[in-house]
Symmetry: C2
Subunit: 444 residues, 2 copies
Amino acid sequence: MDLGWLRRRFGDRFVEDGAVAALYVRDASFMEFSRSAIGVVFPEEEEEVVELVRWAVENRTPLFPQGCATSLSGNAAATAPGLVVSFERMAKVEVDPVDGVAVVGPGVKLEELNLALARYGLFFPVDPGSVKSATVGGAIANGAGGMRGAKYGTMKDWVLGLRVVTGRGDVLRLGCRTYKCRNGYDLVRLFVGSEGTLGLITEATLKLAPVPESAAAVLAYYRDVETLVEDVVRVRASRVWPLFAEFLDAPTSALVGLEEKNALFIGVDVNAGAEEKVINKLRGLLRGEVALEAAGWEASMRLLEPRRRLFYGQIKAAGGGVLVIEDVAVPISKLPDAVRGLKAAAARHGVPLLLGGHVGDGNIHPATWYRREEGPARVENFIRDMAELVAKLGGTISAEHGIGVLKRELAKAELGEAALSYMRELKRLFDPYNVLNPGKVLPG
Amino acid sequence: MDLGWLRRRFGDRFVEDGAVAALYVRDASFMEFSRSAIGVVFPEEEEEVVELVRWAVENRTPLFPQGCATSLSGNAAATAPGLVVSFERMAKVEVDPVDGVAVVGPGVKLEELNLALARYGLFFPVDPGSVKSATVGGAIANGAGGMRGAKYGTMKDWVLGLRVVTGRGDVLRLGCRTYKCRNGYDLVRLFVGSEGTLGLITEATLKLAPVPESAAAVLAYYRDVETLVEDVVRVRASRVWPLFAEFLDAPTSALVGLEEKNALFIGVDVNAGAEEKVINKLRGLLRGEVALEAAGWEASMRLLEPRRRLFYGQIKAAGGGVLVIEDVAVPISKLPDAVRGLKAAAARHGVPLLLGGHVGDGNIHPATWYRREEGPARVENFIRDMAELVAKLGGTISAEHGIGVLKRELAKAELGEAALSYMRELKRLFDPYNVLNPGKVLPG
């Protein structure tokens, strides 16, 4: 392996120090996926990314692209001896408020983008739990979702165009700067959620949204999670389409500083003046105890703050155990069946279970854990039952966290052999030497 | 070619009558793309579609899939001696209003779908000019857009899942029934807009939207198109994000029954009670003469009705000439430059020019025509300049009509050789025998 070229080309932007590299080989998951890397490189220009790919092909050395590595399935972990490519320094932001478009580097944090947009009354609506540290490039690569998915969908709905470098070192300009775009096959969406396995993103053209004029939200407490999710179904059946509908189960609520009750956070965007009407409608529909109300966009977003601490609650609950955060979605009407089934499976296998997530779009994050000394067997059995349940309910085992290393076998069952074989051929087409984030997404 | 199997398998659902076939070989474009077909077949089940593909491969006979053939670029035309596959009879509709999802056959018309949804207060927001006859399968294959693209985007934003039969006869289940979905590579969006060249759609799972509580709209007349599109820019710069912003130039307005003035139709969705405020805001922003106002969803949609007659206006204007309807999009801020440039190009080449379209998302449909006896040379020169102009403004030569036969050379210049070569390999992967709608999308 020719490290000399890396040293000459990148100077102090190629870091070989093992202690630094050790910070970059992991993502936010708790399983041990990582190996030691030969170093971390920080490109600043697309041309450098092209040269890195060519170097990787010549040296048959894997590249592990990274934003801020907040993924939870090993997506961004360096799982083989290779080079971590950090996009931290490719962080330009160009906003056109009339066009409703931002052209950004992959290393821009979602939070930074939103700060740049605030002066125009615009925002980027995709709002994953990791929004304060997640980068645009990472969010695209992982097809991130989050808190406002009920109204705004996920990354796949907000990327208009991309520049990517494939595993053959080709630069592809994909998509358009306009909202409508029909120039050939739509390869943009093939790259969204491909976890850096088909190409490295060097620039993204994002669609923006106007900040809604206002919103109204309530926090309601429930005795049991079943009634809580039944109420989400009632809200939808009553033709209220929330901006967000989020929840925490009672133990998690306590861990993030709320009362130890199952908490439903539900908000709707409205025109100024319509807040009261929505709050009254929600009070009429919800059987839980409404503990807080918010009128206005900022107030509604603030009401959601405790929900944002779900991840910290899960970490606390797991103690020193190995935390496994799952990420299923079911059709909204099936949420009650999903909650009942998940609880039964956890009881059957004797594993701890915390529930929380984005019920407004049917997305639940069951969290469980095991002590290292006892091993993962019971958790694995629980996950097998979970996957079976979700399939039966017409859902998916991967809503927004992606496949990474963790979900490859589950994905295999869900996708079926036919779709998988085409996906394998796509990987060969875009990355024939398997240098881009190898070992992710596709099962072995 | 073994027609015996077709006759046995499909009985009277295989129509060989040349007069009937002649009705199916064309789409709505005016150029002469079509050849005579060996017949039309009407499958009712996915398994029949699989068998048709296998038959096509064995007999090296192209299949030309069709909804209602309302495409405008030859997308659905039978351009070689082959078999037209009409999806008219695969027209199931299953709605789940709580999940906000419909599972439909490809042959369902968008209008029929919306009729089925009305009772739930839901609708399918993609609204192409051909909405009364266009089918879901055709709209997906063509990545249709339309009147409400400013707010709701295009088909690519509303397809959650697909079942497709590839050119290798494989059935692929793609995507999910849930709004969030990250199970492997996103092949759904690769098929949206692929014009039947990668696979035949046998079922689609669509995302639905709640009918907005209310809307407000105005029709304003302008002396010149330049001021009209400048006002669209002003509206966006004033942080009003319209549901629709549509226009007709003065000659087209007259042809569809309005005053002979440039007409801007602009609407915003709101909560009930906020209509007046929006209308006043629009009155304050627009420099045109506000001739009509509408408050309420239905009233706002009715206000748009004359705009829906653009196509008929264009046909009338062209007289017996060969009508060429183009389909460009530019960033919204560039609309004034686009209008000025298009007019200059038409004057330069001495071709007639009508303007109309979806200015709310930057999408203009320049229409021109030529008499058969004079030939297309001047129109071709105009189109060459149009493409150059659009590229310079950061736009695209194909916003929503697709590539078909007509735009293949224009697409080539816009996409560049690198992206095109990957697209060719994708075509080989999904349709190695080139039996699915050959001669479309990709340039020769």
